[in-house]
């Protein structure tokens, strides 16, 4: 039984990690607390849902499409809103993204009603992997694997491409980066797009086993905040490990203390760890 719970926690942890990776990118590089991150995830879930509903594209196949849509959306959000609040203090940016989150949530409600929607009959639905006495749901396994792949892609992109290195340079010092000939404006746009692409992928992966509704992103955005802080702002590997820790905490804590307390334990773990590492596990 405990084995089952640990495995479930790990699988969920990888999905949390991917959502958090998207958030830590914008937070670490641009110092923007994006309160609309969960809403972008929600839009990612909806985009897969509608592609399945209207064109019967399986959520697995719609991953690149969702990623592309959310990448573009991320760039648009940057160009229209974030760019204008970058110069001000952090709270102004927070206001703008909070307004955006409210707008997107209610736009989804306006367009698609507050009803819960599910994707029935996707490729992965109802499949199971049985190893000994541990049963793994196929959607969760696929989502975890997909999340790992996307996280690795992001890490590789950041370390091995010119654009990725430019993003890191900009994160360290914007004015120096721009003196070195980096178009920081473009870098920020790409960072926001990349952050969107992460939740686009996460949304597509989650859409086959989570209910889809306008508020569906809100909870994940709060958890993602905690994961990002736990891992250290801007640290992608930190987000990955913290995601796993939070996934495990939630599963194990929920098992021993009752599911109604699982999120309380998640937040408690943050408060405890942060006492030992005041700048997150991997921050400095």
């Amino acid at each position: 039984m405990l084995g089952q719970i640990i495995i479930n926690g790990i699988l969920m942890g990888f999905i949390y990690a991917l959502v958090a990776v998207g958030l830590t990118l914008t937070w670490g590089v641009m110092d923007i607390t994006n309160f609309a991150h969960g809403e972008l995830l929600m839009l990612g879930m909806y985009s897969s849902f509608w592609m399945f509903q209207l064109y019967s594209v399986d959520p697995l196949l719609s991953i690149p499409i969702s990623a592309a849509i959310l990448f573009i959306l991320g760039v648009i959000v940057y160009k229209l809103i974030i760019k204008k609040v970058l110069g001000g203090n952090g709270l102004t940016a927070l206001l703008a993204t909070f307004g955006l989150s409210m707008f997107l949530k209610n736009l989804a409600q306006f367009l698609w009603t507050p009803n819960y929607r599910y994707i029935n009959g996707a490729m992965v639905t109802d499949n199971k992997i049985v190893i000994g006495n541990i049963i793994l749901g196929m959607p969760q396994v696929v989502a975890a694997i997909g999340s790992i792949i996307m996280t690795l892609v992001v890490i590789r992109f950041m370390n091995n491409t010119k654009t990725g290195k430019a993003i890191q340079a900009t994160a360290l010092n914007r004015s120096t980066a721009s003196l070195m000939g980096i178009d920081t404006d473009k870098i920020y746009a790409i960072t926001f797009g990349l952050s969107g692409a992460c939740v686009g992928v996460a949304g597509a992966l989650m859409s086959s086993f989570f209910p889809i509704y306008p508020q569906s992103g809100s909870l994940y955005s709060i958890i993602a905040f905690v994961i990002v802080a736990l891992g250290g702002f801007g640290n992608i590997k930190g987000a990955l490990f913290a995601g796993l820790i939070i996934g495990l905490t939630e599963a194990i804590g929920g098992y021993f203390l009752g599911t109604q307390f699982k999120y309380a334990i998640v937040f408690l773990i943050y408060l405890i760890v942060i006492q030992v590492r005041p700048k997150g596990l991997f921050g400095w």
């Binding site: 937070w27 607390t33 309160f35 809103i81 204008k84 609040v85 110069g87 001000g88 203090n89 952090g90 709270l91 102004t92 940016a93 927070l94 206001l95 703008a96 909070f98 307004g99 955006l100 989150s101 409210m102 707008f103 997107l104 949530k105 209610n106 736009l107 409600q109 306006f110 009603t113 507050p114 306008p214 709060i222 905040f225 905690v226 990002v228 802080a229 702002f233 009752g258 109604q260 307390f261 999120y263 309380a264 937040f267 408690l268 943050y270 408060l271 942060i274 006492q275 005041p278 700048k279 997150g280």
Partner: protein, 328 residues
């Protein structure tokens, strides 16, 4: 010493007279909420505006206050006035307990910690049977009485109770702002290291700010509970309330004693009016427009309305000076 004492007194008098002139229930309703939120904004301003420590968890103190007075009234028939005080003390105690571990953290790490604390408190209240858990508490309805702080025929007493608290709070805030403590807090805001190096005990002062702020927020919470007469953990402890407090203070002008009042005067009527006019459809148009307006304000007036006033004043002054020069 309180600077601009006169302005404050006139301001409060005007707010006090307004509901006597405009006698409409919807206006009175907006005014009660506006004053309660402005009070919350003032409280938050002490921690974030003065001391520079961003709190995303003020809903916790607000909720504790609302619950303390409601539970005492509902279970033990104790007057909300006493409950209010109990709530304030409880919230101050909670603030004291959480301050020590959280104030070691800086910047966003602190902000997320306050958010985490508020979420934990919410979860506890949801599964705490003694306070009716997720069902919430419907306060017993009694005849209009000052002792039970319940008024059904008119909203005016609520306005004056809330305004009374607000008046005390705004005087307290402007006193703190010009006191030694206020200067210490601002020093901490500008540079934590420098403040420490000149001998300010930063932890003590930040904790004091948090405790005062929590106490005030809880009092506002008790009044709110008596006004709406129904409370549950989801309406009180949500991130939405915490952010609404942040929102209106930043909108009005952060770190300024008039900021929360200005912000609340814009935000609360806006959200109430859009809710009444457009909320009936149940499709969220009101909040959509509200969100959009928040974005616009953040993008084009990042320093808050008070920043705009400052700018205009400076412009007027400059124009005036120009004139004098031209004359001579």
């Amino acid at each position: 010493m309180v600077k601009n004492k006169k302005t404050l007194i006139i301001l409060i008098a005007v707010i006090g007279i307004l509901p006597l002139i405009i006698r409409s229930d919807s206006f009175h309703n907006i005014l009660v909420l506006l004053i309660i939120y402005a009070t919350l904004g003032e409280a938050w301003n002490i921690v974030t505006g003065f001391a520079g420590q961003i709190s995303f968890g003020h809903a916790a103190f607000f909720g504790i206050g609302a619950y303390a007075s409601s539970v005492l009234f509902y279970k033990f028939d104790i007057s909300p006035w006493i409950g209010m005080l109990v709530g304030g003390i409880l919230a101050a105690l909670v603030a004291l307990i959480i301050s020590y571990p959280t104030f070691r953290l800086k910047g966003s790490y602190f902000a997320i910690a306050t958010l985490a604390v508020a979420e934990i408190i919410k979860q506890l209240f949801v599964s705490w049977d003694f306070v009716e858990g997720a069902t919430g508490i419907s306060l017993p309805i009694v005849n209009d009485s000052w002792l039970c702080m319940e008024f059904h025929s008119t909203k005016l007493p609520y306005i004056y109770i809330a305004l009374g608290l607000f008046a005390i709070v705004i005087f307290l805030c402007s006193y703190i702002e010009n006191s030694k403590m206020g200067f210490y807090l601002k020093a901490i805001r500008e540079s934590h290291e420098v403040a420490e190096s000149i001998g300010i005990n930063t932890t003590n002062y930040k904790t004091a700010a948090m405790v005062i702020s929590a106490f005030i927020s809880a009092l506002a919470g008790s009044i709110y509970a008596q006004y709406v007469l129904y409370i549950d953990p989801f309406m009180l402890f949500t991130l939405d309330i915490s952010i609404k407090i942040v929102l209106l203070t930043v909108l009005g002008g952060i770190g300024n004693v008039y900021g929360p009042l200005i912000g609340a005067s814009i935000l609360i009527p806006l959200s109430e009016i859009t809710r009444v006019k457009l909320g009936g459809t149940g499709r969220g148009i009101d909040l959509m427009i509200f969100g959009l307006l928040v974005i616009v304000v953040a993008c084009y007036q990042p320093k808050g309305i008070i920043g705009l006033v400052d700018k205009l004043q400076r412009k007027a002054k400059k124009a005036g000076e120009g004139k004098v020069e031209a004359d001579s």
